[in-house]
């Protein structure tokens, strides 16, 4: 029993060391800015392909590395305004102010991704397998985080005043329910599921704590 508890405490200390260090690094503003900048382009492309009737642009919020702003506008309305402005044949520029939905990049992705990395680094895997699992897990967790952005955005794009999509009442109730259930707890659960699925096989779970 003592050996098991000792092994558990040792694991906990190692975890706190790795997770604490990674968190401290992630809180350096330049690192946050870099993560924020890395996250936006691919996410913007995915959102643009999911919501093809909308113009979507992801922007960093000035003086706040943890926030990402999604500016959206209806393509149909933009084109309508364009035609009205250029009715006389002149090519005039038009200015469109889109609506903005803002989310916390750290709470949606970064903090939980660091948790995943810390868990994986302490997993009993050979180096090559660890690298592959880390890569696969990173992609899967990134896609989940994008899903977490897609669902609230789907809700906003379906609002009558925005007038871009017009989902049925049934679809809207699904979107509302999914948003209601996508809590921070579910974020953690997804990380744990990815970790168990990628790091463990038939008999290696006993090597995690390395009980002597």
């Amino acid at each position: 029993m003592n050996a098991i508890v000792k092994a558990g405490l040792k694991y906990f200390l190692f975890f706190c060391l790795i997770y604490g260090s990674l968190t401290a690094i992630s809180l350096i503003p330049q690192v946050g800015q870099w993560g924020n900048a890395m996250y936006r382009p691919a996410t913007e492309r995915i959102l643009q392909s999911v919501f093809q009737k909308a113009y979507i642009k992801l922007k960093a919020k000035p003086n706040d590395v943890s926030a990402i702003q999604i500016e959206y506008a209806s393509k149909a309305k933009v084109q309508e305004n364009w035609q009205i402005a250029n009715a006389g044949g002149s090519r005039r520029a038009i200015k469109i102010n889109g609506k903005i939905y803002e989310f916390d990049f750290y709470k949606t992705f970064f903090s939980f991704y660091i948790f995943f990395v810390a868990l994986m680094l302490l997993s009993p895997l050979p180096r090559t397998e660890l690298a592959i699992s880390l890569l696969v897990g990173s992609i899967l967790y990134y896609l989940f985080s994008v899903f977490r952005v897609v669902m609230p955005l789907a809700f906003f794009l379906n609002q009558p005043e925005v007038d871009i999509y017009h989902a049925s009442d049934f679809s809207m109730s699904i979107i509302k329910n999914v948003n209601y259930y996508l809590t921070i707890g579910v974020n953690l659960l997804v990380v744990l599921i990815l970790w168990i699925g990628l790091a463990f096989r038939k008999n290696n779970w006993q090597q995690l704590l390395r009980v002597s």
Binding site: G8, Y19, F115, G197, R201, K202, Q206, V211
Partner: protein
């Protein structure tokens, strides 16, 4: 031909495993884990159905949060903090924390219980793990609440925010996972020792 030479020859003839064979071996070793994951996810789904049900939200959530607030407040008063507990709020003239769903530690307890229930071993080992696990996590959550109050009172709102998500939520979940692995090691050891006797 000697046995040594024959062995060498047969080894030479053996072709290295193809990518398809490697993938098959990988998934064969993953099979029990994938089954385990399926059970774990199913069990957590059942928990969330209960956690978001009217029964929990309307009748159980408030008394449970209130009990945790009272006990954490008691703990803070033991350390000389002049706090008062009111409903789901611990407050003093300097700072206050409002306990909401998600701060109750139930998700972490559910992760531990799901892991123990799904693990293939006799129930005589499981109930001990569940009882001790819930007790440890409940006490740890009281310490977490009291610690968050102290962080908010003596440090800044930023420190409170960081500890709330990083320190509080993530490390607390890790604690539940750790208890689960400790229990699995303990249960397997105990079973092996019983089998030897």
């Amino acid at each position: 031909m000697s046995a040594k030479k024959r062995n060498k020859k047969s080894r030479k003839k053996q072709a290295p495993p193809t990518l398809r064979e490697k993938i098959q071996v990988y998934f064969a070793s993953k099979n029990p884990i994938l089954k385990f994951l399926l059970g774990f996810v199913g069990s957590m789904l059942l928990f969330y159905l209960f956690y978001y049900s009217g029964l929990y939200r309307n009748y159980l959530e408030y008394p449970f949060l209130n009990a945790q607030v009272r006990l954490s407040n008691l703990l803070l008063q033991l350390f000389g903090q002049g706090t008062i507990a009111d409903g789901t709020i611990i407050s003093s003239s300097e700072f206050s924390v409002n306990l909401k769903n998600g701060c109750d530690g139930l998700e972490a307890m559910a992760i531990l219980c799901s892991g123990i229930i799904i693990f293939p071993i006799e129930w005589s080992y499981k109930w001990k793990g569940i009882l001790w696990g819930i007790l440890i996590l409940f006490i740890a959550n009281l310490l977490r609440i009291a610690g968050l109050y102290l962080a908010g009172r003596y440090f800044s709102a930023e420190v409170f925010d960081i500890l709330h998500i990083q320190g509080g939520f993530i490390v607390f979940t890790l604690l539940s996972v750790l208890l689960w692995f400790l229990w699995m090691n303990w249960a397997i050891n105990k079973k092996q020792k019983t089998a030897v006797v």
